[in-house]
């Protein structure tokens, strides 16, 4: 057997071993895995297409502009082959987007829609204005599918990597246009409307007395508006939105129930939230869900505050802490 064959065989066995010994509870549902993979390809394709189109528009008509929009290499294959897509943040955002989509679809399919966003659009002043931004951000995100709504940081990183890859098959004049196109697109990415921040803006301006919060959260989940529900939960419980979205997606965590209590959501509405999530996601352990609910109901204020302390840290600090922990355990991200 040649060295190349031996290397291939070793790589195959190594990959199969990783798959074989992966814990079931760490394994992504197949559908989410496929969706996340499609989103990752979509994100790279969107960055590449935007760069090529913008750079071609910056070039005078002619062979250089034509070559810019005629891909010679696969940017995805190149970035993947060099390991540049194996970024912790990019992976986390892509998988979270796929899981949120999946949960939203399952919740919507249950037919409990109340069109909370429509009611917010009917409201006066800043609430209607924030709701309008939210529906436009959601329409923009849906238009961009399969690319996920990445954070500006991830989008910018991807744009520069894609630009560097495209540079390999264009001439120096075109490469300069590519650089300018990337700069412009990075500025636009930083300012782009995204559903997450738009939902947070709605949650900030909605006046929700504690006794109305449970119903609003339940309505948002019934509509499949998971990002809006996460924004409400974050605003009312003092945690950040990404953390709140993570709690709604987690399968067996008491933290969601602590956060709901901290948000002022009553026991009855907490149970409705539990029922919605259990129905939408068959992987949730019903026993763990019930005992988590009961434990959170019985917990005192100090216990709840301690449980949520980490989630109340600023998002970048939690990211840094997680990175520190990964490096400490020897993995790279």
């Amino acid at each position: 057997m040649s060295d190349a064959l031996l290397r291939r065989e070793r790589a195959r066995v190594w990959a199969a071993g990783r798959d074989l010994f992966l814990d079931d509870d760490r394994r992504l549902p197949e559908r989410v895995r496929y969706a996340a993979a499609a989103m990752l390809r979509g994100a790279v394709a969107a960055a590449e297409e935007a760069l090529r189109r913008r750079a071609a528009a910056l070039l005078p008509p002619g062979p250089a502009a034509d070559a810019m929009v005629m891909p010679l290499l696969s940017v995805y294959d190149l970035l993947d082959g060099r390991g540049l897509l194996r970024c912790h943040r990019l992976t986390a955002e892509t998988v979270a987007a796929a899981r949120l989509d999946w949960l939203a679809e399952r919740l919507s399919a249950a037919g409990r829609g109340s069109d909370l966003t429509g009611r917010l659009l009917d409201a006066e002043g800043p609430v209607a204005a924030a709701a309008l931004q939210l529906v436009r951000a959601e329409a923009a995100a849906r238009s961009d599918r399969p690319a996920p709504p990445l954070s500006p940081a991830s989008r910018i990183r991807l744009l520069w990597h894609a630009a560097a890859a495209i540079r390999l098959d264009v001439d120096p004049l075109a490469a300069a246009a590519l650089g300018r196109a990337a700069e412009e697109l990075c500025r636009e990415a930083a300012a782009a409307l995204r559903p997450g921040p738009a939902a947070s803006a709605v949650a900030r301006v909605v006046s929700a007395p504690p006794d109305a919060r449970g119903a609003m959260l339940v309505d948002a989940l019934g509509d499949g508006a998971v990002m809006l529900a996460a924004a409400f939960l974050a605003e009312w419980s003092g945690i950040d939105r990404r953390a709140a979205a993570g709690l709604l997606l987690d399968t067996d965590d008491e933290l969601l129930w602590h956060a709901l209590r901290a948000a002022g959501v009553g026991a009855e509405d907490r149970a409705v939230v539990a029922a919605f999530l259990a129905e939408a996601d068959p992987a949730r352990d019903l026993e763990a869900l019930a005992s988590g609910l009961a434990a959170a109901s019985a917990a005192d204020e100090a216990t709840r505050a301690a449980a949520l302390a980490t989630l109340r840290l600023p998002g970048p600090m939690r990211d840094a802490a997680a990175a520190l922990e990964r490096r400490g355990s020897g993995s790279r991200g």
């Binding site: 399919a109 829609g113 009917d122």
Partner: protein
């Protein structure tokens, strides 16, 4: 033009680190030789050489379309060059089929809420026709389009078929909309499609072509079946078969006549009369039109009423049942179930045949697509037409993913507002 094999070829060649030809399949070697090249020399096919050079320079796989000439004319092929251990391996293949079926490329979805505010329209529609589509989201639906001959049509909050409309910016298009109802029958909004006139004209041409092709043979089938029924001394079983044939033929003729009208008036109202349709009853009517001797059709469960056009619903179910019957193993029944999920009513036709291979799932609704051997019968048009009919009623037809054996198709329609 270079001599050589018809350039629809697929093949491979390998080059050393300096770009000299090492080996390859016979056809590509012959093509290269005809262009003046040979083993141990640089590639004589410039289009392929460019791709190979790029892969060597960049150090990763490079794929691009290339045009090669041959005795039968030019052909566009896909060349992929991959760095190998000792040089470059280059393979040629045929281009894949387009991702988007051509007759769907000019369709753009839109959604509105109960207050007729536009809630979704893809950014691409605006980019195509020169306006900012996202800026219209949240505003009145009439900001996106106005139905030309009935500006107040959407106020009726009922499904409507393709109608001439004026898109934002003054471009004429066709628009159709399906009313979405809640569990309690409340109007929740619209889900619809904007069709560019170009796309619609194309589909109208195809429809007219199909109608012309179907009219004469359908009439002939009915006449023959009627004549057979009149024959003296016909056995009971044969008479029943002839009766089935005549009934099925008349049903098809009614559809052909109706579609002739659609084709003649491309901007007509293909949704026809939307009314409450009992789905299981429609399935029983469709099952009665199947030829005798096929698998049993088990229609079970509680009746569900959808908003649709009864004749179209029966036609879709007849197509699905015929399809299921064709692929069902002997002795296995085809099962039909119906239900409601939120604002939608659905009916599923499931068989226990070989199912649809994962690779084919995305293509089953394409025109002329057929699973397995061609001798299974069928025109390859049934599923394509069925999905078109479902869309015309503001619904959808999908191939379900499931773990069991067989294929499972589900027709989704808005649940009826009627009790």
């Amino acid at each position: 033009m270079m001599p050589g094999r018809t350039p629809g070829m697929e093949g491979w060649i390998s080059l050393d680190g300096s770009g000299r030809l090492l080996a390859g399949d016979a056809a590509l070697l012959a093509l290269n030789a005809a262009a003046g090249g040979g083993t141990g020399r640089e590639l004589a096919l410039p289009a392929l050489d460019v791709v190979a050079q790029a892969a060597r320079r960049i150090g990763t796989a490079v794929t691009r379309p290339v045009t090669l000439g041959g005795e039968a004319g030019d052909a566009v092929l896909i060349a992929e060059a991959r760095p190998a251990q000792d040089g470059i391996r280059l393979t040629l293949s045929r281009p894949p089929a387009a991702d988007v079926p051509p007759d769907r490329a000019d369709e753009w979805p839109w959604e509105a809420d109960a207050k007729l505010r536009l809630r979704f329209v893809p950014r691409g529609l605006g980019e195509r026709y020169g306006f900012d589509a996202l800026a219209l989201v949240g505003g009145p639906l009439t900001g996106l389009f106005t139905i030309t001959d009935a500006p107040d049509l959407v106020e009726g909050k009922r499904s409507f078929g393709a109608r001439r409309a004026m898109l934002c910016g003054g471009r004429p298009v066709l628009v159709r909309g399906g009313a979405v109802a809640g569990r309690d029958g409340r109007f929740l909004g619209y889900r619809g499609i904007v069709l560019s006139p170009q796309g619609v004209e194309g589909s109208a041409d195809r429809l007219a072509e199909l109608v012309r092709a179907l009219s004469a043979p359908t009439l002939r089938v009915v006449e023959e079946a009627d004549a057979l029924r009149m024959e003296a001394g016909l056995a009971e079983a044969d008479w029943r078969r002839a009766d089935d044939m005549a009934a099925a033929g008349r049903h098809l003729m009614a559809l052909v006549r109706e579609r002739s009208g659609d084709a003649a008036d491309e901007a007509g109202d293909p949704a026809g009369g939307m009314a409450p349709v009992a789905l299981l009853a429609a399935a029983r009517r469709a099952a009665a039109l199947l030829p005798a001797g096929g698998p049993a059709v088990a229609v079970g469960g509680a009746e569900v009423v959808a908003a649709g056009d009864e004749r179209r619903v029966v036609q879709v179910l007849l197509n699905l049942l015929s399809n299921a019957a064709r692929y069902s193993p002997p002795g296995e029944a085809v099962s039909v179930r119906a239900g409601r999920t939120g604002p939608s009513a659905w009916i599923t036709v499931a068989d226990r045949g070989p199912g649809v291979a994962a690779a084919d799932r995305a293509r089953v609704f394409e025109r002329l697509w057929q699973a397995g051997a061609a001798d299974m019968g069928g025109s390859g048009l049934g599923l394509h037409i069925s999905r078109t009919l479902a869309h015309e009623m503001g619904g959808d037809l999908i191939l379900e993913e499931h773990d069991g054996t067989g294929a499972r198709f589900t027709l989704y329609l808005a649940a009826s507002l009627a009790p």
